[in-house]
């Protein structure tokens, strides 16, 4: 049994409420299923939002946190505007995904998890996203061989974007960024510290 499970007296719901963004809303769900029916990638979710909320309350910790479901959220906000209980479902999905990722329980090869991390790394380096580098690291995120294959598959799109001046190959040598990179990084570091300090009040798994 992990120390978190002990800390929350075996209640995964309490753990979610304390650690997951907007997690305190989970208990408000009345299981009507509107969110699941509104989800654009719904058919691909192993456990749609309504089911995840039920599983959290049933204490299915491993099943929830290791699920790839919440990584399928496209942030379309369809569920939020329809939920009769006004749960911030989108943010709970993001929060669950981030929490699982932080604990190292998210599925290893979840492509959106990898992309989300690449995106964050890319932007936090210089304060702005470098689309070219992000694109390239995305193609190569599954290894070199796969990367070449994807890059070849995508080359016509790249060429079209280049011709329309919507892609600049020279971005590879540096490219856009904030002037006050140092300040930005100091701000992010502090924000991370504050967030981690709050999480440290709870024992690590």
């Amino acid at each position: 049994m992990s120390s978190n499970t002990i800390k929350y007296r075996n209640s995964f719901l309490r753990e979610v409420e304390a650690n997951v963004e907007e997690g305190e809303w989970v208990r408000m769900c009345m299981q009507c299923g509107v969110c699941s029916g509104s989800c654009p990638l719904g058919p691909h979710w192993e456990h749609p939002p309504q089911e995840l909320f039920m599983m959290i309350r049933a204490g299915k910790r491993e099943e929830v946190l290791s699920s790839s479901s919440m990584w399928m959220c496209t942030s379309c906000y369809n569920c939020i505007v329809r939920c009769p209980r006004e749960l911030p479902i989108t943010h709970i999905m993001h929060g669950l995904a981030h929490y699982a990722h932080k604990l190292g329980l998210a599925p290893k090869n979840q492509p959106t998890k990898k992309f989300a991390q690449l995106f964050w790394d890319n932007l936090s380096k210089k304060g702005r996203v470098n689309e070219l580098k992000l694109g390239l690291s995305l193609y190569f995120m599954n290894g070199f061989g796969e990367g070449i294959k994807t890059a070849l598959k995508m080359k016509d799109i790249g060429l079209g974007m280049y011709k329309a001046k919507r892609m600049n190959p020279f971005e590879i040598f540096g490219g856009h960024g904030c002037k006050d990179k140092k300040g930005l990084q100091a701000i992010l570091k502090k924000a991370r510290e504050i967030e981690d300090a709050k999480a440290d009040q709870y024992p690590k798994v």
Binding site: T74, L138, E195
Partner: protein, 299 residues
């Protein structure tokens, strides 16, 4: 005409040589015409979009928006903060709302901002460019500037997700907002009535990580535009624009379809109707060329 000034957040995809630079160019064109002055927030940073959650978590993610809002407060006091990108607007507005509702969050954010010598007061209004057009300029005035009505062009107004939900534009319904159709009409074109996929999701950033699943969504969006007899798609969102335009060849290959329908920004459409050149309208930014608009712009 009096000039209206706004504190402008262009966002990463509007940078030179980035994927929606054509949106920025055409937006500048219509703003000039309508007497809108956009003052770029100095040294703005990425908002982390909707996908930043995975690596960033809550406070670091929200603090990114806080830095932009603080810079806007400092440099452009009294001006509303305006974004053209749906994801930028959503992330910034959501963060702004949360700071103002939650004083502890505001305090923590300011503790982080202090490291960069900044401070957030939270007194800004965060708005979408379309709100500026619809609420501050108005449909009548938008129409008054038309020099070349876009007669005979039928257009599917694709609103998408984040320009619509969760905040909405001008208090319109989430299921069937009509502001984009009204803008199309104001330009002299004909909107597809009851465009079935008007507010459907294009897959957003999952187009990169889950291309097959997202392309299936886009296929339906394109199909519905054809079913409605559309000559082109018009959208306010950079992600929608990109996703509905650039993957058509791949979708055709996979599904045996023959899609080849232009997808343009409302700002490109308006620029053409306002009698601007193809370049000012950023028509050269199209990968699937909008020939009907090119013809009008060339007249």
């Amino acid at each position: 005409m009096a000039t209206k000034e706004y504190s402008f957040y262009p966002g990463c995809s509007s940078q030179k040589g980035a994927s929606s630079i054509n949106q920025l160019r055409s937006t500048q064109t219509i703003c000039e015409e309508l007497g809108i002055k956009l003052n770029e927030i100095p040294d703005w940073n990425c908002c982390s979009a909707s996908i930043g959650y995975g690596g960033g978590g809550e406070l670091p993610r929200l603090t990114l928006s806080a830095r932009n809002i603080a810079l806007s407060e400092q440099n452009h006091p009294g001006q509303d903060l305006v974004a053209t990108c749906a994801a930028c607007w959503l992330a910034t507005r959501e963060a702004n709302d949360r700071f103002n509702e939650d004083s502890q969050l505001m305090a923590e954010t300011n503790q982080a901002l202090k490291e960069g010598g900044l401070n957030l007061k939270g007194e800004k209004k965060v708005r979408h460019m379309v709100e500026v057009l619809v609420e501050d300029i108005g449909f009548e005035e938008m129409k008054n500037h038309v020099k070349k009505p876009l007669e005979g062009i039928k257009i599917a107004g694709y609103v998408g997700c984040q320009t619509n939900r969760p905040f909405g534009i001008n208090g319109e319904s989430f299921e069937n907002p009509v502001y984009l159709d009204k803008m199309i009409e104001a330009m002299g074109a004909e909107p597809v009535e009851n465009y079935e996929k008007k507010v459907s999701c294009c897959g957003g950033a999952l187009m990169f990580s889950e291309p097959e699943k997202s392309q299936a969504l886009v296929k339906d969006i394109l199909e519905a535009a054809y079913d409605g007899g559309a000559d082109m798609i018009v959208t306010p969102c950079p992600v929608c624009q990109m996703n509905t335009e650039v993957y058509q060849a791949q979708i055709n290959k996979k599904y045996g379809t023959n899609f080849n329908i232009p997808s343009v920004y409302y700002s490109t459409l308006m620029s053409v109707a306002y009698g601007k050149t193809a370049k000012e309208a950023a028509l050269d930014g199209q990968i699937i060329r909008a020939t009907k608009l090119e013809e009008i712009a060339g007249k």
